[in-house]
């Protein structure tokens, strides 16, 4: 059913009796051209673009839980394309462009809201690093502005400019950055994929990967064997576990990242602001909650829950940045499992095993990447060659020494 003003009025007047399911609950077929493991944002986006852009609709998305039950449903909803490296920046800008047309494209209001992402700086060294990054963005035609302290003050007057331990000296602003209603992204892609004939199979856990003569031929699942031409892994924090079923060891660690929401408030802060002297960033949802987070807890985890020490660090940095947060109450904390790669950048590539494709290593940048990740993964699956904007996200770059290390932290995931 296409959503429109008419459909809304019609159903409203008829007691909302005629709405149809946003997606089917199909039984798995014995064989698909492509099976995607993981019904999160990236898996569903991959399915959607496979059907819509590449005409491949004999596709199943297998989700062990419910769709969007992973990181797409538990992040801080930020989108931005303020990346430094020439291998990353064009990819995230492609994602931003897809975000900008997404709602019209998939006929679902995901509330893409470009209210700006402001990264604060507190020292000359940080300003210089932002100058470098902002210029990389501008060279690619991405919007970036370097604000001085007074310009930041005009935008966000209630930051602690003067008395803080690390006075705010300015910020790097991407006005096209912003937030998106995260669950709606999964739902919009799912609905769009389903309407094009793709089977979204929830409650279907992959338990094995079947190989014959070195080629992947299908997956064992909690709902039986499902054969496939190509197997596409988009399992985020569970990538290592799934890849292990094909005896594949990945350059990934799974780490827990906590995020938080406050009680609902009348408009408090407009855009996204990130602190430069501690781990804290914040935005406000359309519903009124302040959505915020900090750094990963720092240890490997599959538990989707974090530690009190990190909660305290985040609150400390938050109050250091905005003293008025002190009496705001934090409603809920949750944790997502990040597929932290060894250089902080993602992987979209075929593996050395025939028919097995990998999309992983998103660290905590996965949400903003969702459209481009799906688009480029679909391109790789359909055409057999990497999309030009994702051409550097190769699995062999670690072995060959062509690293994509935005932060320069090296092969230690908890530092990225």
């Amino acid at each position: 059913m296409r959503y429109s003003v008419f459909s809304l009025l019609w159903n409203g007047l008829r007691g909302n009796r005629d709405w149809t399911p946003a997606w089917r609950q199909p039984e798995p077929k014995p064989h698909y051209d492509v099976v995607i493991v993981g019904g999160g944002g990236h898996g569903l986006a991959t399915a959607y673009y496979l059907a819509k852009e590449f005409g491949i609709a004999n596709v199943a998305v297998l989700e062990k839980n419910y769709i969007g039950s992973g990181n797409v449903g538990r992040n801080t909803t930020i989108i931005r394309s303020n990346y430094l490296l020439p291998a990353n920046n064009p990819f995230y800008e492609l994602s931003m462009k897809l975000w900008e047309g997404l709602e019209q494209d998939f006929n679902f209001n995901a509330m893409v809201s470009q209210r700006g992402v402001l990264n604060l700086y507190h020292s000359d060294a940080q300003r210089d690093a932002f100058t470098r990054r902002g210029n990389a963005m501008r060279l690619h035609g991405v919007d970036a502005e370097l604000l001085d302290r007074e310009a930041v003050r005009r935008m966000v007057p209630f930051l602690d400019f003067d008395n803080a331990r690390f006075p705010i000296k300015g910020g790097l602003l991407q006005r096209r950055g912003g937030t998106v209603r995260h669950d709606a992204v999964a739902w919009g892609y799912a609905r769009g994929a389903d309407s094009r004939g793709i089977d979204i199979i929830q409650g279907c856990e992959v338990t094995g990967i079947r190989r014959e003569n070195g080629r992947v031929t299908g997956v064992e699942t909690s709902r039986g064997f499902i054969g496939c031409g190509k197997l596409a892994l988009a399992a985020a924090g569970n990538s290592s576990e799934v890849a292990r079923m094909a005896d594949l060891k990945l350059p990934l660690e799974s780490h827990v990242l906590q995020a938080f929401v406050s009680e609902g408030l009348k408009p408090f802060i407009d855009g996204v602001v990130t602190f430069g002297a501690g781990h804290f960033y914040v935005s406000q949802s359309d519903k009124g909650g302040l959505v915020f987070g900090g750094d990963i807890d720092g240890y490997n985890s599959y538990a989707q829950r974090g530690n009190l020490a990190t909660v305290e660090h985040v609150a400390e940095a938050g109050k250091a940045m905005i003293p008025a947060l002190s009496r705001v109450r934090v409603l809920r904390a949750w944790g997502g499992i990040m597929d932290m790669s060894m250089d902080g950048s993602p992987i979209i590539d075929r593996t050395h095993i025939d028919n097995l494709y990998l999309n992983a290593g998103w660290c905590y940048g996965g949400f903003k990447a969702t459209p481009a990740s799906g688009f480029c993964f679909a391109h790789l699956l359909a055409r057999g060659t990497p999309h030009e904007k994702a051409a550097a996200f190769r699995l062999d770059r670690f072995r060959r020494g062509h690293l994509l290390d935005e932060k320069g932290q090296g092969a230690q995931p908890n530092l990225h």
Binding site: S240, L250, P251, N300, S301, Y302
Partner: protein, 90 residues
């Protein structure tokens, strides 16, 4: 991850006192082949379940520990001095 981590030298201490490095893997021999080195530096088992990691009691005894922890329950199973684990007293 426990909020409290058992240090073999200091007893149970808050997690904030520690620095975590990651997988406790054996460093290859200096002349090992590039593949061994690549595996050591870049590939991780990353299991659901028991996992051995290097933890440093930075704000305590400053010893490097090998902490065996469950990545799902966060239960710490064992914690031993890294040098002692190698049979050395250093």
């Amino acid at each position: 991850m426990a909020s409290l981590v058992p240090c073999p030298h200091c007893g149970s201490r808050p997690k904030e006192e520690f620095t975590i490095k990651g997988a406790a893997l054996a460093r290859p021999a200096p002349d090992a082949d590039p593949d061994s080195w690549f595996h050591y530096v870049y590939l991780r088992e990353n299991p659901r379940g028991a996992y051995e990691e290097y933890w440093h009691h930075t704000a305590g005894c400053r010893r490097w520990l090998i902490v065996c922890r469950d990545t799902v329950t966060h239960q710490v199973n064992t914690s031993q001095d890294a040098a002692a684990a190698k049979g050395q007293a250093a």
